[in-house]
């Protein structure tokens, strides 16, 4: 589902320590303009499950979470 959407920005958060993926995602999303898409590459399951509710509060919406490898995901977030 997320394949046809072109991300405006990409964050590679693979290997980062908890909660850096969450914090970086929030920081980036805050400075983005409405309609822009953020792609987050992540290998930390807790952050993957925590981000969807976490971005809602700052005007973001997770469009898709796609598994791209063993314990590796690509999350697309739209700034509302």
């Amino acid at each position: 589902m997320g394949n046809d959407v072109k991300p405006t920005y990409t964050l590679d958060e693979r290997g980062e320590v908890c909660p850096v993926p969450d914090v970086d995602t929030r920081r980036k999303l805050k400075e983005m303009k409405s309609g822009e898409i953020l792609e987050v590459l992540i290998d930390y399951a807790l952050s993957k499950e925590r981000i969807p509710s976490g971005v809602k509060e700052i005007g973001g919406e997770v469009i898709s979470i796609e598994e791209i490898g063993p314990s590796e995901w690509r999350i697309l977030i739209k700034k509302l």
Binding site: D12, E49, R50, P52, S53, P70
Partner: protein, 338 residues
Amino acid sequence: MDPRVQGLLVGILFGIVLQRGRICFNSAIRDVKMTKDNYLAKLALLAILVETVGFQLAAQLGWIKLNPIAFVPLAQIIGGFLFGMGMVLAGGCASGITYRIGEGYITAFVAAVFFGVTASAVRGGPLSFVNSWMGKPITTTNNPGGFYASKDGAVNLTLANLLNINPWIVAIIFAVILLIVLIFWKTTERKVSGLDWVTGGIALGLVGIIAYLSQKTYPLGITGGWVNLFRTTTANLDLTKPIPYNWMGMEIVGIIVGAYLAALFAKEFRLRVPKDPKTFVQVAVGGILMGFGAGSAGGCNIGHILSGLPHLAISSIIFTVFTLFGNWFMVWYLFERR
């Protein structure tokens, strides 16, 4: 069964629950403040509720003696604050960095080594002089119902023996308060692929009760286990005598094995390395602060929070409060200042 084999088996169970529940006290405490997310906090509170009832029941049936951690005010205040700051830098609490080794986190391994070595230095090693700065434990001679372990008539302080009332009364009041909080505090939405907070919380609490029945002297702990592993492994041993690994040391080995098996089974094992080498320095400093804090305070987030709060031990209540402060201070410093 040999206590060490029991420790290993309980550890494996603990590791599986930690991995499948993605249980981290650092996240639980931090998320409540940083993102107003209470998912893991509710899981932890539910586990504490289950244990509060379970420990009390086991004590009243005469299966165990309740053995709260010694109350040394400065140790729990300073130790708690340092531990709380340290776990933010290390990217996980004591149990978090332990089980994530089994998931393949190299940073967790680095943090755990610095944590274990520093805690060993503080507990009977070259840094043990710091304990004399903290002062002596404050104890009581009250032992309502005889449910507490005593040493020469001295019992470590809990709310119940401080008030000299049957520990059931305090336990039931605490459990009811926790239950009310759990029911009325709206759970943050989360789609989980592992255990949800209810299943995870009950499972974690049950592992804690099994641990108490198995080890007898105390339920789950992390700090003492790492100290035992490092000290025993590097000691000059008299090999005609049994090698002094203990229940808690083997529990640590079990946690790593259990988390590894759970991660492998769920296809979540993966060697993870941070891109910026500075991260290694950060987690090492975090491990040192945690080892210093938990070493002097008598326990970490497991010894004091998961296992100590259900005792309503004064030491654990103070430690928990200052761990929250330390965590929130470091979260503000690292992530919220700008």
